[in-house]
Amino acid sequence: MAALPPSSSARARAAARKKRLGRALMAAPLVVLLLAFLVYPVGQLLALSVWGKAGFSLAAYQQLFASPLYFNVMLITLKISFFTTVLSVVGGYPIAYLISVASPERKATLLFWVLLSFWTSFLVRAFAWIVILGRRGVLNHLLTSLGIIDTPADLLYNFGSVLVGMVHALMPLAILTMLAVMENIDRTLPRAASTLGARPGTAFWKIYFPLSLPGVAAAAIMVFVTAIGFFIVPALLGGRRETMITQLIIDQVLQTLNWGFAGAISVLLLLVVLVVFVLYDKLLGLSSMTGTSAPRAATARPQGFGHRIGDAILTLLGDVSDRIIAVFPRGRRDGAKPPRPLVAFVWIVLVLMSLPAVLMIPLSFGSGGLNWPPQGFTLQWYREMLDSPVWAQALTRSLLVGLGTGVLSMLIGTPAAFLLVRGDMRGKGAMLAFVLSPIVVPRMIIAVGLFYMFARIGLVGTALGLVLGHTVVAVPYVVMTMMAVLRNYDTRLDLAAQSLGARPLATLRYVTLPILGAGMMSSFLFAFATSFDELTIALFASGGLNATLPKQFWDEVTLQVSPVIAAVSTCLFVFIAVLIFAADRLRRRSVAS
């Protein structure tokens, strides 16, 4: 560098400046969005907990700790979240495993059912459980007609029904998170273990399982953090004793307008989440969250006590599994095929996962209300739905807000993803953490903070406010998906195009975008679907008259359980199924071309 003449070093400096400016411009929209609609409103809400009309005050916290009620609710929230996490991960593991080892066609089928559950509205799925577990519901009907019980049992509004609803809601998330890691496990490794003398059980527990652990860890934290901020399932399926912390926040805001106290509960919730994250990072390392880097255990191997115990446990599990397998006669089966009991288990779980939403379909055409079995055939509920202007308005608004969110998230998230993947800059890790923070901060806190802010600047009840709020929660997913897409993109193709005479825009148009198109489309759909199903922010920010579809659904279902909702559920379910099918077609066509 010293040998360069001054003029060229000045040019180099100018080029570097230009590059820095370009980088800043790529990241700026996202940073501004998050600062304005995440950091500021959440910060304000937290500040409200100690800073009311009368100046500084700890009254809210005194109220919070004065009664054991809030502490108990926090405990219940943690208990429900913990069991939800354990059941979702343990139950989801075999499914993710089977999908990761299945042949391409089979994989597409299995994945369709998981995605269908994943994208079917939480509301639709929770509502379905009301119908299934009700006194005159599917399960009671089944049990009485089989003669197992004489009178219908109370299956709803208890810990069990909440847990069923929660696991049902979050298991697809666990499966998809684990799958992301399992897909990257080299399939020759278990085969290699087998040629080296490892029996199937040992090969699984000593080779495959340790390699899949980052996925398990990531799935567990994703499910736990989502569960802790959940209110739909406990509100619809739980009784008083299953009240979760976010429900308290809703009460404070919507019924008593006690912002200070809502802020104090939010602080408590946020602290709990932070503690969970810190503990998690200490134990497992958060790098596993993104599923991209190796688990910390592999970089700095603790050859100590804990490791030896873990190894001994895995060895034992391997031995036990092998002994169990040895009991069954071994035919001339192909070793590559997964064992039948596993396949059976996976299909049972997948059917249970999809069934609730499917059961809505016959009920929506029945004339006997929501009692099982459905009676007669009528289009009455669909007519009522179409005749009522509320549903049509809600649908229009949801589509509008969804499209707006999709477009805005793409416009803001894609350049940031480019920067995070391609740019060589310091503080990438911090930047990524900042971008992902809307996932970590419980949705309810964001929603209440935005409500307070929107109320003061007149954005409550506007589509713009909803789009902004939804973009905050959708943009991390867009950035993550786009980062994955960009990592797989071979940048030499761009260089090849440029060497063939294509200018940057032409390169983008003829090479980069056509290849990235499918990935961008799926990012867009992700953002759209996130917004389309979003209730927490819409609950406050959409105002009384301008409800989105989930808000309208929520209002109806908390008021009265009517068959019209079954009709709406059916429409939503079919809409999502078509959307997934179309997206899959699109993806296949782009792969084929």
């Binding site: 080299d186 020759t188 490794l189 085969r191 290699a192 273990a193 087998s194 040629t195 080296l196 003398g197 490892a198 029996r199 199937p200 040992t202 000593k206 080779i207 340790p210 390699l211 190796a294 688990p295 255990a297 592999a298 191997r301 071994r330 001339r332 089966r333 192909d334 070793g335 590559a336």
Partner: protein, 366 residues
């Protein structure tokens, strides 16, 4: 190290309509280095997977050391396999990787460590025991994969294109290394490759495969100089393949007439019986063709020089036969000096010895 023989009898595998391996039989004596050679999709990896037990055959049997292992799982076959991508366990240290098969065989920890160290000595990487696979280079990972396979002294070692990912220089070095280990341990090795040079330099015998069946099985020299089929002649090294018809037979020596009336001459049989009147392909290796000028009709063919290529030790001449209907020809000789006597466009006389022309029966004539 104990070493076992391998017998494959009538082994076949289909995937739906696709015949990955037609019924195939093969005998490999203990201690032999046998290479499965062929283009991609020729069935060599399928055959290896069936031998390893990683796939189940539709019919036929596999015997290792005389024992029927056809439907035994891989972990009961006592064989070692080196995978194309090495398949080192990323979450284990090098030492743990190498000790893994010993652990599976219930060898004590101390003994396992000792033997892992010995195996590392053998592949000349004694200092990497505590590292993780991704901290090593491709060539080093390859050696570790080999060590992990050698450490438990399997009676047969299977290698699936083990050097495919290495650069040329490293590949040659590893070829020597594997040869040395084979010599020292006298173990049976089944080696899969699509690199014909690698097959020629390393093997006791080559099993050349094509479209799911064995084209020819024999010593490298046999396949090179006495190919049974045109495919073999074409696949191994460069060759001139001339269509011809047998006019008379006298023992090993055959009188032939080249197609399109290009001339007559003599050739030898590749071992398969041939009768007069049969259509054959005559193979002559480039280094067995001599060229000279001026053209005086004293050779077998005339050709016009289309291109000259000096590949270091060899000079290759690309010629167009003057007689229409004959394919382009290649002649090669050791490069003697910088300036070559032949110019592009020259008309040259081509000649070869009868003993260097091998007649191969055309596919339809079987």
């Amino acid at each position: 190290m104990s070493s076992s023989s391998l017998t494959v009898h009538g082994l076949a595998k289909r995937y739906g309509e696709f015949v990955a391996l037609a019924p195939t039989s093969l005998d490999v004596p203990a201690g032999e280095f046998l290479t499965l050679l062929g283009p991609s999709g020729s069935g060599k990896t399928t055959l290896l997977s069936l031998i390893a037990g990683l796939a189940t055959p539709d019919e036929g049997e596999v015997r290792i050391g005389g024992a029927d292992v056809t439907y035994r799982p891989p972990y009961e076959r006592d064989l070692g396999m080196v995978f194309q991508n090495y398949a080192l366990f990323p979450h284990m240290t090098i030492e743990d990787n190498i000790a893994f098969p010993l652990k599976m065989r219930k060898v004590g920890a101390a003994e396992a460590r000792k033997r892992a160290a010995e195996a590392l000595e053998m592949v000349r990487l004694p200092h990497v025991a505590k590292r993780f696979p991704r901290e090593l280079s491709g060539g080093q990972q390859q050696r570790i994969a080999l060590a992990r396979c050698l450490v438990y002294r399997p009676s047969i070692i299977l290698m699936d294109e083990p050097l495919g990912a290495l650069d040329k220089k490293l590949r040659e070095q590893m070829q020597l290394e594997i040869k040395r280990i084979h010599r020292e341990l006298a173990t049976t090795i089944i080696y899969v490759t699509h690199d014909q040079e690698e097959a020629m330099t390393m093997s006791d015998r080559i099993c050349l495969m094509n479209a799911g069946r064995i084209e020819q099985l024999g010593a490298p020299g046999d396949l090179y100089f006495r190919p049974r089929t045109v495919f073999v002649a074409d696949f191994l090294g460069e060759s001139n393949l001339l269509p011809a018809r047998i006019s008379a037979t006298a023992g090993e020596t055959l009188d032939i007439a080249l197609a399109a009336g290009a001339g007559t001459g003599q050739a030898i049989s590749n071992g398969a019986p041939l009768a007069a009147g049969a259509d054959v392909t005559v193979m002559v290796r480039p280094q067995n063709i001599t060229v000279r000028a001026p053209v005086d009709g004293s050779g077998k063919l005339k050709g016009r020089l289309a291109d000259v290529m000096v590949t270091g030790s060899l000079t290759k001449l690309y010629l167009d036969a003057v007689t229409p209907g004959l394919p382009p020809l290649i002649a090669a000789y050791p490069t003697r000096s910088l300036s070559d006597e032949h110019r592009i466009g020259d008309l040259l006389e081509l000649d070869w010895q009868a003993a260097d022309a091998v007649a191969i029966a055309d596919a339809g004539a079987h």
